[in-house]
C-alpha cells in the first residue's frame, strides 16, 4: 500500500525540507492552504512513485513565507493561488501575479 504521510515542520525550515524532497527525487504534487482560527495551515505535498509526503506547518495572519519556486519552478501557480484566495504573503515567487491570477469580485475570498 503506498504511503500517505503528513510531516509536521516549522515554517522556518520550509526551504530546507523542500530541498530534501528535491534531493530525494520527489515531484511537487500540490500546495494548499486551510483557514484555521489564528491563521493558516499550509500543506506542501510531494510524490515519489505512488507515495505521498505532505509537509505541514501553521502560520499566523500576515506572516510572510518564502516561495519554493526557485526549487520547484511549477510552484508559482500554487503560490499565486494561495496568495490570491487566502491572502498569504509569499515572497520571491518566480512569476508573481501580485493578486491578479484570479479575477475575484471580492479580494482574498477564502480569507
Amino acid at each position: 500500500m503506498p504511503e500517505n504521510i503528513i510531516i509536521p515542520i516549522s515554517s522556518e525550515v520550509l526551504l530546507e525540507e523542500v530541498l530534501k524532497m528535491k534531493g530525494s527525487s520527489c515531484r511537487l504534487v500540490q500546495i494548499c492552504a486551510t483557514r484555521i482560527p489564528d491563521g493558516y495551515e499550509l500543506s506542501y505535498s510531494f510524490g515519489k512513485d505512488f507515495d505521498l509526503y505532505t509537509l505541514r506547518f501553521n502560520i499566523g495572519e500576515e506572516v510572510e513565507i518564502p516561495s519554493i519556486s526557485g526549487i520547484y519552478p511549477a510552484s508559482f501557480l500554487y503560490e499565486n493561488e494561495i496568495h490570491d484566495l487566502f491572502g498569504v504573503p509569499i515572497k520571491m515567487i518566480s512569476l508573481d501575479y501580485k493578486g491578479t491570477l484570479y479575477r475575484t469580485e471580492k479580494k482574498t475570498p477564502f480569507k
Binding site: 504534487v29 500540490q30 505521498l52 519552478p73 511549477a74 491578479t100 491570477l101 475575484t104 475570498p109
Partner: protein, 359 residues
Amino acid sequence: MSKRSIVPFGPQHPVLPEPIHLDLVLEDEKVVEAIPSIGFVHRGLEKLVEKKDFNEYVYVAERICGICSFMHGMGYCESVENIMEVEIPPRAKYLRTIWCEMSRIHSHLLWLGLLADAFGFESLFMETWRMREKVLDMFEYSTGGRVIFSVNKIGGQRKDMDNDMIREFLGVFADMERDLKELVKTFLNNSAVNSRLRDVGFLSKQQAFDLGAVGPFMRSSGISRDTRKLGYAAYPFLDFEPITSDVGDCYARTDVRIREIFQSIDIIRQAAAKIPNGEVSVPVKGFPQGEYFMRVEQPRGEAIYYVKANGTKFLDRMRVRTPTFANLPGMLETMKGCQLADVPILILTIDPCISCTER
C-alpha cells in the same frame, strides 16, 4: 536579435473551448516565452463545502467539470469514505470503475474531435463526436444524465446497472472499437494531420518530471505512472499497464490518448466479466473527522482531493488539484521556441479543462 513583440492569445479564441489567456512574447514568428493568465471563471466551489452538508456536497463536486463530473463526485466520496473508514460493496467498486472508464472514453473522444477541429478537419471532428454521442447515450441509459450523473454517494452508488444493460453496453463498445480502428488511421497516418502534430511541442521526460506534469501529457514523455495503479475502485482486480510513449511531441500525446481509449474498452470488458452481484451501497452514520488526500486518475491525469473534516456535518476544507493546473507549467515549456501557428495545437494537446482548474 529580432525585435520582440507581445501577442495576446485568448481568453476568447476559436480553438479554445474555455477561457485562458496567454501573453506570447515573439521574435518574428517564434515564441520565446508565454505568460499565462487564468481566473476568468473562478466559482469558489471549494468554499461552498463550509456551508453544505458533506453528503450534499457530492452534487457540488460533480459540477466542478462537465466532462469529468463522475470522477469528481467519486474522488470526493472516496476521500470522505477513507476518513470514515467506510468499505463500499464490491459491486459498487466495479460500477465506479465502469463509469470511470466510460468517462475517459468520452473525454478522449471529445478531445480528439476538438483536435481535428483545430487543424480544420471538420469531417474527422464530426465522426469522432458521433462516436462520443454513443457513450453519452449509455450514460443517459444507465444514470439518467448525460453530463451530471448524481450516481455517487458516500457509501457507494445510488444506481445499479443490471447485467442485461452491461451486456448491451459491451455490444456497443465492440462496434465502437471496430469503427475507432478505422477512424484512428486518419489521426495517426494522414500526412496533413502528421505535419501538424509530429516534431511539434516537445517535452522531455526530465522536463515532464521537473514541471510536475501528469496524465497522458506526462506519459507521452516516457514516464510510466498511472494513478489507477494506486488501487481505488476495482482497479486492483483488473489487468492493465500505463500506456506511454518516449517521443514527447504532439503526435505522441494523440497516440497515447487513442491507445487509452482501447485500453478503457478492455478494462470495461474485464470489469463486466468480474462484477459480482450484491448491494451497491452501505449505510453511513455519523460525521467524518480527520483528513485525507485522495488521488484519482482522471482522463487528463492525476487529480487530488483533499478533505479535512471536524466531526460536524460541515467540512473544514475541500481542495481539488486538477490535472490541468498541474500541466500548465509543462505546457508553457513546450511553447518555448515553437512557431506562433502551432500555439493552438500545443494548448490543445494538454487537453486543458479550465472549468476544473478554476473550480
